[in-house]
Amino acid sequence: MAVFKRKHKVSSQISRIEALKCTPIKNVHVKETRLENGAVLLTYPVAMRPWITGLIRRFGGHSERTFTRKLQLDDLGTHVWDLIDGINTVQKVIQRFAEKYQFHLKEAEVSVTRFLRELGRRGIIGLQ
């Protein structure tokens, strides 16, 4: 009987090599503010959960479905953010980052990919 047959999920994960060849692109809705100390403050839109929107509407609040959040980058994050220009691939960003701070290449890869993944999770960047 096929009722209890395990369904195989189709994996959408890409390999490490493929991921390194991707180009990170900034979300056009993200606002970038350069602070006095040179660091970058990002203001990015976040979609509200439908049940929260419903609740707000019920209490007579606004019907907007997005709100904004802020993220302040440190020196390293700012440098990576500046390297995201729509041309540099992830591999190139890692190489430039490693060169600038004299990181071991593997170490730079770990920290840059972790940072890019976090930006991607927040919808601040995308990969193409």
Binding site: D75, Y101, F103, H104, K106, E107, S111
Partner: protein
């Protein structure tokens, strides 16, 4: 081809510069090139009689269970004989649907260490010269009672009696802790120093990472902008004195931090023990530790 030295927990060899360490264990190393596995080394001390054949049988069973590989003993390739002349060796090969490999089980009669080295071949076989170079550079014991630890960008020389009890390779921070009887050596490495020391000096940074406040118990030995060292006496409350006497004795803990500007790195060494720490010992540890 450029070669790089790798040394970890007693074993040492040279690998191509394009290979990277992808898995680390206490007695295990795995190397890859562009995400493809290239070489694996496992080793351990043997107590009693060593049999290559029983080791190979065990390995064959493990491999079959894991990957369905067909492992078989083969005659030692003639080009491996000279580099492995100091070892008693048995060669083997295996293949699965996607990948194949060959390697050798080595036994060193001098230090009684057994090592399994295997080379993975996915698309093409490794060149004979490459395998010969790796096998020729392989060592499983030191000749001067000091063990080399060289991985990623750090290299340290630690007395052979010290065992590695903890290691951490995080992005930006490495930590290795060695122990022998009641003595402990901790090695640190931080990067990038230019960012870490942007809003604080080396002394403040050292205090922050070692989590001890600047108190009367701290006796600076020498201080300059790129170098700080302290001997920290056990804290004064009676229970701490009693505890530290029981656990470590009453000897001060030694800290040294230095900033290597040309490499943009900060190195740190902590030595603690039951007896007073010999300055020559401290200097030898710090002199042998650095960046490659």
């Amino acid at each position: 081809m450029d070669w790089r030295e790798i040394a970890w927990n007693g074993v040492r060899c040279e690998i191509p510069d394009s290979w990277e360490v992808v898995k680390i264990g206490l007695r295990y190393l795995m190397f890859a090139e562009k995400s493809a596995p290239m070489m694996e080394i496992k080793w351990g001390q043997i107590r009693g009689k060593f049999s290559h054949h029983s080791q190979l049988r065990r390995l064959a069973m493990q491999q079959r269970k894991k990957f369905g590989k067909t492992l078989k003993e083969i005659p030692l390739p003639p080009e491996w004989r000279t580099p492995l002349s100091e070892f008693i060796s048995v060669a083997f090969s295996w293949h699965s649907q996607t990948i194949s490999g060959s390697g050798a089980v080595l036994y060193c009669p001098t230090c009684k260490t057994a090592t399994l080295m295997q080379f993975f071949q996915k698309h093409s076989a490794h060149s004979t010269a490459l395998v010969q170079h790796i096998l020729g550079s392989f060592q499983d014991h030191s000749r001067d009672n000091r063990v080399i630890w060289a991985l990623f960008d750090i290299r340290a020389l630690i007395p052979a009696e010290f065992d590695l009890i903890k290691y951490r390779f995080d992005a930006g921070q490495y930590e290795l802790i060695f122990s022998y009887k009641k003595q402990k050596i901790t090695l640190w490495r931080w990067v990038p120093a230019s960012v870490l020391l942007h809003k604080q000096n080396l002394e403040e940074f050292a205090h922050r990472v070692t989590r001890f406040a600047l108190k009367k118990t701290v006796a600076p030995v020498r201080a300059d902008p790129d170098w700080v060292e302290w001997e920290v006496l056990p804290s004064t409350p009676w229970w701490s004195r009693w505890r530290s006497r029981r656990l470590l004795g009453h000897a001060p803990t030694y800290y040294r931090f230095w900033h290597l500007r040309e490499k943009n790195r900060i190195f740190g060494v902590k030595i603690e023990g039951k007896q007073a720490i010999d300055s020559e010992f401290v200097n030898s540890i710090c002199a042998g530790y650095g960046s490659v």
